[in-house]
């Protein structure tokens, strides 16, 4: 039997352990409590460390992605040669239809500050915040397609939910076909691949493999036309009133190092964009 002092130490150890477990459980059960605490930690204790990580990420990406960026720049420069003629053609057609100029979406570039925890990728810490004009529900896109949406904005940083977050949803349609549905993560216990699901497709519609799925713009969060993924097959239907399709995602949040935060997500129709109604 341990002596009295040892028993007191043992009791203290158990009390401290129990207290920590209870606090952790309280944060799991009441996320708003945990978010307040973690927000305060990010703004105080972690601030200088995150600044160091930001410099480190910037240094790494500037070295590692130089060749890739040069290739992408060359491709973009080649593609841009045809832009003036396309723009002129677009303006001509819009004028014929009586439409105003196309709405432009401004953006903010940000570094992704990846972490070593196993849930990194479900949320991303971004190096741009309110000072750069970022707002909650701004869409986050990568070079390949949709990455996620900003949920928490602080002065210098923002936190985005990616499409791997269990609560992520986006209204979408197929190209070609125009079949509408809602995209969310394909949640699974025993899977081994990060996939998406297109749900809510009407029974009468069928979508062939290889079809591109893009954001529809419905709901006012994501602009229309951002690639989300490609259909790779039918999913498991549970309710019997809809078709479900499994998608291979266009962008991988776990590999994203630089992203664009779109600052005006909703395609708001400016004054005068449409001509007066021609109907009597």
């Amino acid at each position: 039997m341990p002596p009295q002092s040892d028993r007191a130490l043992l009791r203290r150890d158990n009390v401290l352990f129990s207290l920590c477990v209870i606090l952790s459980a309280a944060m799991l059960l009441r996320p708003e409590l945990g978010e307040r605490v973690t927000g305060a930690i990010r703004a105080t204790v972690l601030r200088p460390f995150l600044q160091i990580q930001e410099w480190s990420e910037a240094g790494r990406t500037s070295r590692a992605s130089f060749d890739r960026l040069r290739g992408e720049r060359d491709s973009a420069a080649y593609a841009a040669q045809f832009l003036p003629s396309l723009r002129a053609e677009n303006q001509r057609l819009r004028a014929l239809l009586g439409l105003g100029a196309r709405v432009r979406v401004p953006y903010v570039a940000a570094e992704v500050l990846h972490q070593s925890t196993p849930t990194d990728g479900r949320t991303l810490l971004l190096s741009a915040g309110a000072r750069a004009g970022v707002q909650p529900f701004d869409p986050v896109v990568g070079a390949e397609g949709l990455v996620g949406v900003v949920r928490v904005v602080e002065a210098e940083r923002a936190i985005a939910w990616t499409w791997t977050h269990p609560e992520f949803r986006a209204s979408a349609y197929t190209v070609p076909g125009g079949v509408f549905g809602v995209v969310g993560p394909a949640l699974q216990i025993t899977g081994s691949e990060l996939l998406l699901q297109l749900r809510g497709v009407a029974i009468r519609d069928s979508v062939p493999n290889g079809t591109l799925v893009v954001t529809s713009g419905l709901g006012g969060v994501y602009p229309q036309g951002i690639p989300i993924g490609t259909v790779i097959g039918p999913g498991q239907e549970e309710t019997g009133w809809e078709r479900v399709y499994v998608l291979r995602p266009a962008a991988s949040p776990e590999e994203a190092s630089q992203v664009l935060i779109l600052r005006a997500p909703a395609e708001r129709v400016p004054e005068g964009a449409f001509g007066p109604d021609s109907l009597p």
Partner: protein
């Protein structure tokens, strides 16, 4: 057998260095899911030199830091690190590493347990548990254990550790 008579100030210096490495060097070490976790390594080094209560509190704080930067499910990281810290402090009596390999194995086990608890507490996600537990967690455990071996060898005198063959 390892004799642990760590000078606290030197221990804190090494722990501080690991925290700096976590934010300054880890981002340059490749794919984040398998890069060594210096914060967890610091926690394990502290836990095996401390009482279980103090190790649990340290684990809780390290977990909170993790939750602050990846708030997918706040509280999951705190819970996972609390358990790992507490078990590591208790486990030293059982594992009591008497060579570098066992030392690394204990730290690798800590990484895997942390990942398992955090993934389970965070709920289902695309990719499921198989990818996280059978692919990423073992690889991260391996890289962290290798880094632990390097740290123990380099700071053998500072940590006052005697590694016998």
């Amino acid at each position: 057998m390892i004799a642990i008579r760590a000078d606290r100030s030197r221990l804190w210096t090494v722990l501080g260095l690991l925290v700096l490495l976590h934010f300054a060097v880890r981002p340059r070490l490749g794919y984040p899911a398998i890069a060594p976790d210096f914060l967890l390594l610091a926690l394990m080094l502290y836990a095996i030199r401390s009482r279980p209560g103090a190790a649990a509190v340290a684990g809780f704080l390290v977990g909170l830091v993790g939750d602050a930067v990846t708030p997918a499910r706040v509280g999951a990281g705190a819970l996972a690190h609390t358990l790992v810290g507490y078990l590591a402090a208790w486990g030293r009596a059982v594992f009591f590493p008497d060579n570098l390999f066992v030392n690394g194995l204990v730290i690798a086990l800590g990484v895997w347990v942390r990942n398992a608890v955090q993934l389970l507490a965070s709920g289902p996600a695309p990719g499921g548990l198989r990818l996280g537990l059978l692919v990423y967690a073992p690889l991260q455990a391996l890289t962290t254990a290798l880094m632990a071996a390097l740290v123990l060898v380099v700071f053998q005198r500072w940590l006052d550790i005697r590694l016998e063959a």
